[in-house]
Amino acid sequence: MRERTDEGTLIAAAQRGSLDAFNELVLAYQDQVYTVAYRIMGDPASASDAAQEAFISAFQHIGSFRGRHPSSFKSWLMRIASNACYDELRRHKRRPTTSIESFEMDGEANPALVSEMELPEAYAERGEMARAIQAGIMELPADQRIALVLSDVQGFSYQEIAEMIDAPLGTVKSRLARARGKLRDYLRDQGELLPLDYRLR
């Protein structure tokens, strides 16, 4: 409750022009925003650019935010973030980074988020797995990639995603299904998926 009140207060202050208040919000959301940006853009540099753009844009348009409840700010912010990523993708018109490149500019290794209970091997495996998945995600076309990240990385509902990307519900479902299917095929080919039989062991 307290947190929600604080966020509401911060938002109100930011809407009145307080950059300091807005920066508090930035600190609270920057990892989430950066994660989404990283999953969509594929490399840390582009992700930073996109995330920064997203926050600048959010501050400039904070006056237009009409939040009925706290979670709507997150949706509103993520919408801006995904739009910023989309624009960044179009601006650069780059092909998705290959697995090799992502090795060099690795956003996966992140000590801060490692569980203390995790064994080094598990951590390493997790890192490798994450890299493989990210590589598979980068194989997806932008529309499908964004739908997948918003749904499965961030946990938004079909309806929320539809509003965020300004697309009909059916389009969201279709893009998400195709993204998942393609990623499944990619991972299966890469040998990253465990066969049904093994899982039973």
């Binding site: 600190l27 989430q32 930073s48 348009h61």
Partner: protein, 407 residues
């Protein structure tokens, strides 16, 4: 299949082309759409998006189809893996500085947000379009009123005095004359420019001489004209002086009007056959002005048989000031008018009174009568022109505003 899938994922134009081609081939296309439909079904199933009927149907299919089960499991794993991806921390703090925001203030972040802002601005400017429309309407109305009034007044004056078709031509010069005359004003009479005076006198002399030969007809006509002539001459002198002074002083407006004046004078004379006893002084003044100010281009007046085909007409417009023509009845009048025009009003003035006893008088009268509305015409024309331009500009702005609004 994965390879085909990846190809399908290419850049838009490529993928479009590929999709199109595969659809045309029918074979791979059919496979893709079948797979896609299957994946959509499984995906919805995983998210609990299937209704009861769909759920039952799918579960029935799964029970009988191991391959389908495998696909579903692989899909389930994939979704789990993505969901379990670790959150990535921002490599650096992304907090904003004032410079970041100020530098970007006014610039739109992303294109979509730019579009949103634009639409936000639209309401703020919503009043612009109707306002411009109203302004255009008002300007158009004023323009119409001024134009109508001008036509009515000008038309009456011109038509009344001029028997010939020259009327229109004459109107303009008349207006100019009037305007020029007003410009110069009586006030300038005081100034005395020796040089000018001399020049003028010279002109005057010439003028005096010139009209004589062409003088026609009625001796009686000559008598009265003579008087006015004398008077004109006398007036000319001071006029010249004043004009001399005038030229330098009243420069721009006078100069501007000089040509017009000359024209008008010529027109008036010609047109005003019926003539009214226009004040000769008036004419003389105008003539003088015209002479002094118009200076420059000399337009040989074709017109009447006048010998004076006077040299200097400084009338820029080829006013059929051969209009001199007009004077009703008096053959000489045309000539005289010519003369006057060429040399300046003085000529004309003299000529006019000279020839026509009756004609000259009425001519003058007409001139005077015509002169007034005529002299009103120049500022009026300017006003009309200005209003016309304003209407056009406002109309364009209004159209633009409505277009912006629609966006």
């Amino acid at each position: 299949m994965p390879l085909a899938c990846r190809r399908e994922q290419g850049i838009s134009p490529t993928s479009w082309r590929l999709k199109f081609n595969t659809t045309m081939l029918r074979l791979p296309g059919r496979r893709k759409s079948k797979e896609r439909r299957r994946d959509e079904l499984l995906s919805a199933y995983l998210d609990g998006e299937l209704n009861e009927r769909g759920l039952r149907r799918l579960e029935a299919r799964l029970a009988d189809d191991p391959a389908l089960r495998a696909e579903l499991e692989a899909l389930r794993q994939t979704v789990s893996l993505v969901r379990e991806l670790p959150r990535v921390a921002a490599p650096r703090n992304l907090i904003l500085t004032a410079s970041m925001v100020e530098g970007r203030r006014g610039t739109q972040g992303s294109q979509t947000q730019a579009a949103r802002s634009r639409s936000g601005q639209a309401p703020a400017r919503a009043w612009a379009a109707p306002l411009l429309t109203a302004a255009t309407a008002v300007a158009s109305l004023l323009f119409a009123i001024v134009l109508t009034g001008d036509l009515l007044l000008g038309g009456m004056g011109g038509l009344a005095s001029v028997p010939e078709s020259m009327q229109e031509a004459q109107e303009i010069p008349q207006i100019a004359l009037e305007a020029g005359r007003d410009e110069v004003g009586e006030a300038d009479k005081d100034a005395a420019a020796d040089e000018d005076a001399v020049a003028d006198e010279g002109l005057l002399v010439e003028r005096e001489v010139a009209p004589s030969p062409p003088t026609t007809g009625a001796g009686s006509a000559e008598a009265p004209p003579a008087e006015p002539e004398a008077a004109a001459e006398e007036k000319d002198a001071p006029q010249i002086e004043s004009e001399g002074a005038v030229s330098p002083t009243s420069a721009p407006p006078a100069l501007a009007e000089a040509p017009a004046d000359a024209l008008e004078m010529a027109a008036e004379e010609a047109g005003e056959a019926p003539a009214s006893p226009v004040g000769e002084p008036v004419e003389e003044e105008r003539a003088a002005e015209a002479v002094l100010q118009t200076e420059t281009p000399t337009v040989p007046m074709g017109g009447g048989g006048g010998t004076e085909e006077a040299a200097t007409i400084a009338i820029p417009e080829p006013q059929p000031t051969e209009v001199p023509v007009v004077v009703s009845g008096a053959a000489v009048t045309p000539t005289n008018a010519l003369e006057a025009t060429t040399e300046g009003e003085a000529w004309r003035l003299e000529a006019a009174p000279e020839e026509a006893d009756a004609t000259s008088a009425p001519t003058h009268a007409d001139e005077r009568g015509l002169a007034r509305p005529a002299s009103r015409n120049l500022p009026l024309r300017v006003l009309e022109g200005g209003l016309g331009l304003a209407v056009v500009a406002l109309a364009l702005a209004t159209v633009q505003a409505w277009r912006m609004r629609r966006r």
